[in-house]
Amino acid sequence: MTLVPFPLPVPSIDNQYWFDKCKEHVLVLQQCKLCDQFNHPPRPNCAYCGSSNLHWIESTGRGTIYTFTVTRQPVSRPLLGRIPWVVVEVELNEGVHMISNLIDFQDEDLQIGMTVQVVFEQVDDDITLPKFELVA
């Protein structure tokens, strides 16, 4: 059975570079050159000080599960074949939070605080998404 896809990201000028780097299997984050804060998702200015002097750094790709939910009701009928699916909020070691999915895990094992590492999943020729796996 073919799974109905979730909406694919539509990259914009503000975040195209981030998606381009995902295709190279590199997770990047914006860091402010003025106040050193990390920003995510990408935007033209720093959310902490307003500076436009941002540069890209390569993330460790490592973090912990901040929280998660297991969706057991399909939301809409076409997504019935997808249930249950797990959405995680990962707190990266750099401090920013990202929404993502886990690969290769058992629902019942999941706990807040577990260590995770980024992996990349190619969706099509244009889009590769960062996902996470549990680190033993």
Binding site: L8, P9, T67, V70, Q73, S76, P84, W85, G95
Partner: protein, 381 residues
């Protein structure tokens, strides 16, 4: 930074109107809006020619001009709208209050009309998804599609940090269902539930169950705001806007856990300061309860209990009629109907008029909020 908020006692809600609530209205949203509007005008002791301003939810399909046309109003002196999605109700009252206080209009109507069950449903993602555009490019591709999932993630975090239990969320659902069983207008009137029913119910977005989710409904609400120095022609007492505040948290993802950001804790100090009252002065509350865990965090955010104590607070009947702080006495979004914060305002007005089906004795002061704390009001009779 902290400009003085001078909203206190400048304006009053002088008329309220609502259609019945159901799961399949068979009517257009415009037709329902007209019914609620006509009832609010009549309740205010006005005629439609007295209405010179209309404010709408951005999400509402009914344009202000169409509603005006159906009411026989030739033009509006004042109009506006507020988004996003469901969190607009209190903010629109604030806009209306500022307009009438400054003579931009005499009588402003705020309305909401939605076939939220038989039409496009919030819980299906039809209303809320942006198909991966903008910041949604960082959420929707992972299947984070509807507000219930975000609320579930916050709820799990609260359980983790403070030991909040499933039964605490159930306590919220049971309290509001009990209130709905006193309210013949509530969709869940006559359908009581027990904690066993709650714990046995279907899990939607783990840890949230079906009974934790707002009851998508068809219906319309309207109310009319006038300047506090108007000559009131209604037999009903005006309900004054005593305090108000809004908050739009900036950004998502950074600032450590900002996916979880909730405006309530930030607007609360201004809300109470503008009214000149404290949480313990409030007699009745109308919280926007799209999901039951938000009641627990809002009790903390507005200072009715300490951070992390919202779970224990809702146990042993404290938020029920007769308890220390009755919340959502009409049944709220969980058990009356989900009219995006509008029916909470109507119920608190009714409480302050001493006309609720679940009347709080001598209710003088009410607090009502919208969304995740996007706006809030303190109302007094």
């Amino acid at each position: 930074m902290t400009a003085k908020n001078n909203i206190k006692d400048k304006a009053a809600i002088i008329g309220i109107g609502e259609t019945n609530y159901n799961r399949e209205s068979g009517r257009s949203e415009l037709e329902m809006a007209v019914e609620a509007a006509e009832k609010a005008i009549s309740d205010a002791g006005l005629t439609s020619s007295d209405i010179d301003g209309i404010l709408k939810f951005t999400a509402d399909s009914t344009p202000q001009g169409e509603l005006a046309a159906c009411l026989g109003i030739p033009y509006l002196r004042y109009y506006g709208e507020l988004g996003p999605l469901g969190g607009a109700a209190c903010g629109l009252v604030i806009q209306a209050a500022m307009a009438v206080a400054n003579g931009m209009a005499n009588n402003v109507m705020v309305f909401r009309s939605v076939n939220g069950r038989s039409g496009a449903r919030y819980g299906s993602g039809v209303v809320t998804t942006r198909r991966g555009q903008g910041t949604s490019a960082f959420t929707e591709p992972y299947g984070l599609l509807v507000p219930g999932q975000s609320s579930a993630m916050r709820a799990r975090r609260h359980m983790h940090e403070f030991g909040t239990k499933m039964e605490d969320f159930g306590g919220v659902a049971l309290a509001f269902r009990k209130h709905a069983c006193l309210n013949p207008k509530a969709i869940m009137y006559g359908r009581p539930i027990t904690m066993d029913d709650y714990l046995d119910s279907k899990v939607f977005f783990d840890p949230l169950r079906i009974f934790d989710c707002a009851l998508e409904a068809d219906g319309a609400n309207a109310f009319i705001i006038s300047s506090a120095d108007s000559t009131f022609s209604s037999s009903e007492p005006p309900v004054f806007i005593m305090g108000a505040g809004q908050c739009l948290p900036a950004g998502v993802g950074d600032r450590g856990g900002n996916w979880d950001e909730n405006g309530a804790s930030r607007l609360a100090p201004e809300l109470f300061a503008s009214a000149g009252v404290k949480p313990e002065d409030i007699d009745v509350v109308g919280f926007y309860d799209h999901f039951s865990p938000v009641i627990i965090t809002k009790l903390e955010d507005y200072g009715f209990c300490n951070r992390g104590e919202g779970g224990p607070f809702v146990s042993d009947g404290r938020i029920e009629l007769g308890g220390q702080l009755p919340v959502n006495t009409s049944g709220g979004h969980l058990s009356e109907a989900y009219l995006q914060g509008m029916n909470q305002i109507i119920e608190v007005v009714r409480q302050l008029r001493h006309q609720s089906y679940a009347q709080v004795d001598n209710a003088e002061l009410g607090l009502v909020d919208s969304g995740d704390g996007s706006g809030a009001l303190i109302l007094r009779r």
